[in-house]
Amino acid sequence: MENGFEPVIIAFCCNWCSYAGADLAGTSRLQYPPNVRIIRAMCSGMIHPNLVMDALTKGADGVLICGCHPGDCHYLEGNLKAESRAQAIELMLEDFGLEPERFRLEWISAAEGQKFARVMTEMVEAVKKVGPSPYRSA
């Protein structure tokens, strides 16, 4: 799998913290792998498990949901909703025959450009290790 496999990673970032965090990583000129495709959503609480499972079964090798730290949510408790949904997603990965490394939930604030770059690097490395999604060829 190490012969040039470049994973496709989808990162759902909330508008108020994580997307701003990604922006900060960019303006600070931090380096992180280009495998990540960022999708901006108003809140991590609006990322329904359907979107994640659809992404994973239709071509993505890994999915990240990034939201504000608990207590910081612009909509008060959207990120807590995201957290309970993430539990459901983690359970379902097994049902779909996918490795747990393919999904991750992270809290990234607008000030954490460093953390954003680090999480993306870690995620890409982890997914490179488990290889392409079994749904990719099918």
Partner: protein
Amino acid sequence: MAVKIAEEWLATCGGCEVTILDIGDKILDLLPQLEFVHMPVLMDHKYFGQTGERETLEIPEAAVGIISGGIRSEENRKICEEMRKKCNTIVALGSCANFGGIPALANLSTLDELYQKVYRTSKSTEPHDTPHEGIPPLLDRVYSLSEVIKVDIGLPGCPTTPEIVADALTALLEGKPFSLPERSVCDDCPTKREKKAVAQVKRPLEQVQFTPGQKLEEVRCYMEQGYLCQGPATRSGCGGAEKTPRCIKAYMTCRGCFGPIRPGANPMVDMMGALSTIGLNPKDIEDRAATFNRFIGVTGRLRPKGGKP
């Protein structure tokens, strides 16, 4: 002139055929326009000629072919292919024909595991070799009709309801198109919803909280009471003209027999999302794959444990 109808049952219980009888008075208006040319559940009509004189399986030609049941064996497959050849319009009757139904829960196990359990390791069974002489072999899994042949009209439900059978037959006779609405059971459910669970996940044999005679509008949403209700991910239509879904009306949770709201939707993902959104713990659900795919185990929704897609 009467319209010729052929009816077949494959891997199914026969409940959907009973539904045709359940149409009631309306069937008296329909019957003079219908002529049943083949219907194993009702009349003696053999596949290889009445005395077995023919070599090939034959079903008489008909305008409408109604098939209930999924495809489990080689015989089922051949019969439904023959039906497709001889009938202009194919109607898939019931959840088994449309999504595999209860028999498709067997898709969770491999064929070997099934044989092992049924003929050898089940407690009430004297161990025996798997029978193989003079019977059609099973396919590797249960298939729905549309995975094997083209289906023109799908009438889901376990069993399906007299209203939609009558409506579909009437539409066919009048040459009008027939389809079910893309609405969820929740859209037609009258119970009170506040988007917040008031209890933990409960077992289905516990009783929903209500006082007898209480109006459904005043009863709290069953899911918010902690009972697993498939309503959010199930197509509506079982209530007929009255709209209130059948099981909800009887103070029971929806079990999902009408299948996904849209083709290609994944009810298990929808349900896990819905549960965690209102604050129930998704970890409390035993055997989520079978629970949320109870009637729809075909097209890879259910597969043996550890099986790759």
